[in-house]
Amino acid sequence: MANFDLRINGKDYQVDVDPDTPILWVLRDHLQLLGTKYGCGVGQCGACTIHLDGVATRSCLLPVSGINKQKITTIEGLSETGNHPVQEAWVAHDVPQCGYCQSGQIMSAAALLKKNAKPTDEEIDLAMNGNICRCGTYLRVKAAIKTASGQD
């Protein structure tokens, strides 16, 4: 066990955990930030996507000891009141079915739009291909990203 200082959603936290504990489980078990989901544990499904200094990152493979001052953003910190353009577009298109993967989809989409304000269909496919939606809401995810980027 060791102490780690983390900056998450603009707040400072200190946790006492094993150095190899993935950020996913630090968020969930130790900080009660439960919006980041466990799906596969091997970086294949994207349900655990967070932002590390604004870049979409799989938190299930990222040990807490691997964080070095980078700022973490989770779905809870993406916006103050759920009013990030991606979140609003998700509601407008009523994207979710079961909804479990959607935090990860939203975090990937928000990271995409940060570096590419008007992505094409192909760019959306490429950026989002690491996020599995078992319910098959892919068409709505794409439509919502188009809306969030002012392209519809």
Binding site: D18, L34, Y38, Q97, D125, G136
Partner: protein
């Protein structure tokens, strides 16, 4: 207007008003709610009055509607309360929805399965709303001393036309809750619906997109321990012995022991409870338990002979060479008709085992004491789970509560509540609240798979290309995929359906649209082959068969309404512009009826670099009245993507009993780039009582794809997953 008997007895109602703390809650106006700025503060009532088990009304007119059935992504948590709200005649913006716990006294069939929640809930949901409305009317009538018949309602306001008097529901809720329950009530004429038939946003939508803790895995309680299980790595194996010396002193580890969820060795349960015994590891945090699990050494023993995919295939091939002395259905004289045929077409289709893979792995919370048990988590069949927990813990059912969380997908996987039983046994042993968590690998290798299937079709045409005989012979793991009385039974004079079943120690279960998920692909692919051989347009060919089923059906036990079946085909033909030349676009059609809903689809394919790309799926649906149109379209789109994804890419195979895939790195699921570019959905508007949408759009789509692919490439693909034979582009 329909008058119905309410079927309520006085016991159904809790007539005491319950006092809840007043206060403010953030509500959302979903009518305009594309933006958070449309949020409004909903004033919570000082007092709630429970009118019946489905609803309570606040003194300020805010209504809480309980959603009885488990929510697995089929959106019943929105659509079921919409039906109650419609008959109650309340403003949807004033409705708060809550998930009901398991309550077999108050509700019937609290199950998510078979696309039946809406169909089977329709009457009771309407009755709950209409009965409450009538009690509110009676309370107002008493207060005003006027006949009930002079009163009308609109959006939660009762009006007396002659005097112009009005009363909000909240103002008479207290009196209404003490009214006698009417013995019969009037239901609305569907043409007067103002909520049903309008698109309403998912009631949990805002919570989902902000990461609110809605799911089973998000359930945390004070003092809760974390548990994982280690089950056998191969089917047919059980725990021999284990060495916990390496892990019991690992940080955070509390206990390691064996549990057995099937001590009686129940055969039926074994079909879905593949691993009756397993090692449980309990500790202080998920990661600590995960690490300990990896270090645990278990020696597994062989209980039954290990099986492999090659064995399964060979066994099914052998069965399809045999004939059944007692076929499931036999019309006319198929043998003679085949012998006299001008042409006989024959083809075998197959599909592999599939894992369900809901994105939220299996998990459950249990807090079992000597007197009672509390269970919380994702389960499609809470009543069945409670029964099993009672049997294995020795607690009476009435001392066991089950609360359903929102569920990160179901697809049939959560019909089998062994994980809740495991959580309960672990909690009972450690005498503490426990959350059991499956790793993705535990989940994918635990079984209850969609069975592997194989089916042989034969069709006979006469000199004039009339279909004179039809034969279907099928087998699958733990059961045949055949529905002997479904189309084209009833349309062919000489018909034979034979079913075989392949035993296995690999456990199988219901997987989204059980059996239909495969047989629709086989049947609708084969019918295209027959149409092609007969030189007919595939839609025209099918419609001719339906004409026969309408005019002079063969047999009396045909499981479909030929007019509605033909209706969706005609609708998709019209909407897709079937028959028009579209250069470079190859089209395939398919239609299927299952779970009480009719679906027809046209797939448009284009070839890019010799690889198929799905340009568009056109989909016509007859599910009767559509409760929530946009959400209904979402279900249909999802079913199409799911059907294509699994037919194209997914499969589970076995070597020496061991599942050959345990995570998404090798078990392939459809991803963004591979989804169709567009899906357009058309509903038949016929006012018939509604049926479900969770499953019916999935089964036909792989045949529409296969039929389009045949046009594009000349190749007929008959074995799923197609990825073994073609590459598909996004």
């Amino acid at each position: 207007m329909t008058i119905i008997k309410t079927k309520y007895n006085r016991r159904s109602f809790l007539k005491v008003s319950t006092v809840a703390g007043g206060g403010m809650v953030l509500g959302f106006n979903w009518l305009t709610a594309c933006t958070a700025s449309a949020e409004e503060i909903m004033q919570m009532p000082e007092e709630w009055f429970t009118v019946n088990a489905f609803l309570k009304i606040g003194d300020n007119g805010v209504v809480t509607i309980m959603s009885p059935n488990p929510e697995i992504g089929q959106n019943v948590k929105t659509s079921m309360p919409m039906v109650v709200a419609e008959e109650l005649d309340v403003d949807w913006d004033k409705v708060i929805v809550e998930q009901a716990p398991l309550d077999t006294e108050a509700f019937t069939r609290q199950v998510a399965g078979g696309s039946q929640s809406i169909r089977r809930g329709w009457n009771s949901l309407r009755m709950a709303g209409a009965t409450a409305r009538m009690m509110l009317l009676q309370a107002a009538a008493e207060q005003w001393q006027v006949p009930v018949s002079e009163l009308t309602t609109e959006k939660g306001v009762i009006r007396h036309e002659a005097t112009g008097n009005t009363l909000g529901y909240g103002e008479v809720a207290s009196a209404a809750a003490n009214m006698d329950v009417p013995e019969e009530v009037a239901l609305k004429d569907p043409k007067d619906f103002t909520i049903i038939g309008t698109s309403r946003k998912n009631v949990d939508g805002k919570k989902i997109v902000t990461g609110a803790p809605l799911y089973g895995l998000d359930h945390y309680e004070e003092g809760m321990l974390f548990a994982m299980i280690a089950h056998a790595p191969a089917f047919g194996m059980k725990v021999g012995s284990f060495d916990d010396s390496a892990i019991k002193n690992m940080p955070g580890i509390k206990d390691v022991f064996v549990i057995n969820t099937n001590p009686e060795g129940d055969e039926r349960r074994m079909q879905t409870f593949a691993f009756p015994d397993m090692v449980a590891i309990v500790g202080n945090s998920t990661w600590e338990v995960m690490k300990a699990k990896k270090a645990l050494e278990v020696s597994w023993e062989t209980a039954t002979a290990p099986e492999s995919t090659s064995m399964h295939e060979a066994m099914m091939d052998e069965q399809l060479k045999q004939s059944k002395a007692d076929p499931e259905r036999r019309d006319g004289n198929p043998e003679a008709a085949f012998a006299s045929a001008a042409k006989v077409i024959e083809r075998t289709y197959s599909a592999p085992f599939l894992a369900h893979n809901p994105m939220e792995p299996m998990n459950f919370f249990a807090d079992v004491s000597e007197e009672s048990a509390k269970l919380v988590g994702p389960i499609q069949t809470p009543q069945s789970m409670r029964g099993m927990v009672a049997a294995l813990t020795g607690l009476p059912e009435e001392k066991i509560s089950v609360m359903m969380t929102r569920q990160g997908g179901g697809f049939g996987r959560r019909l089998y509540g062994h994980f809740g039983v495991e959580a309960a046994l672990i909690s009972q042993k450690v005498k503490a609240p426990v959350k059991l968590i499956y790793s993705r690998e535990d989940d994918m290798t635990y079984g209850t798979y969609r069975p592997s299937y194989k089916v042989l079709y034969r069709a006979a045409l006469d000199e004039s290309n009339n279909l004179i005989a039809f034969q279907v012979k099928g087998t699958g793991t733990h059961g045949s995929p055949i529905f002997a009385n479904r189309f084209p039974a009833g349309t062919v004079d000489n018909y034979l359906a034979e079913s075989f079943s392949k035993p296995s120690n690999v456990s199988t279960g219901a997987w989204r649209a059980p059996r239909s998920n495969f047989i629709a692909f086989a049947e609708q692919s084969f019918l295209d082959e027959v149409a092609e051989e007969a030189g007919m347009d595939p839609i025209e060919f099918r419609l001719n068969l339906f004409d026969k089923a309408i005019d002079s059906p063969v047999g009396e036990s045909n499981d479909y309404d030929a007019e509605r079946y033909a209706g969706v085909l005609k609708l998709v033909r019209e909407k897709s512009g079937w028959g028009q030349e579209m250069p470079g676009v190859h089209r395939g059609v398919s239609a299927y009826f299952c779970h009480n809903t009719y679906v027809a689809q046209v797939v448009d394919l284009v070839m890019e670099n010799n690889k198929p790309v799905i340009q568009k799926v056109w989909c016509a649906v007859d599910c009767g009245i559509v409760i929530n149109p946009d959400a209904a379209r979402n279900q249909i789109e999802g079913g199409i993507v799911d059907g294509l994804g699994h037919g194209l890419f997914s499969s589970m195979t076995f070597e020496e009993g061991k599942p050959q895939h345990s995570n998404f790195n090798t078990y392939r699921l459809i991803r963004h780039a591979e989804a169709p570019k567009a899906i357009e959905v058309f509903f038949v508007d016929n006012g018939i009582d509604p049926t479900g949408l969770g499953e019916p759009s999935l089964p036909p789509v792989m045949a529409a794809f296969a039929n389009a692919l045949k046009k594009a490439t000349g190749e007929r693909i008959t074995n799923q997953p197609f990825v073994r034979e073609i590459e598909i582009l996004g």
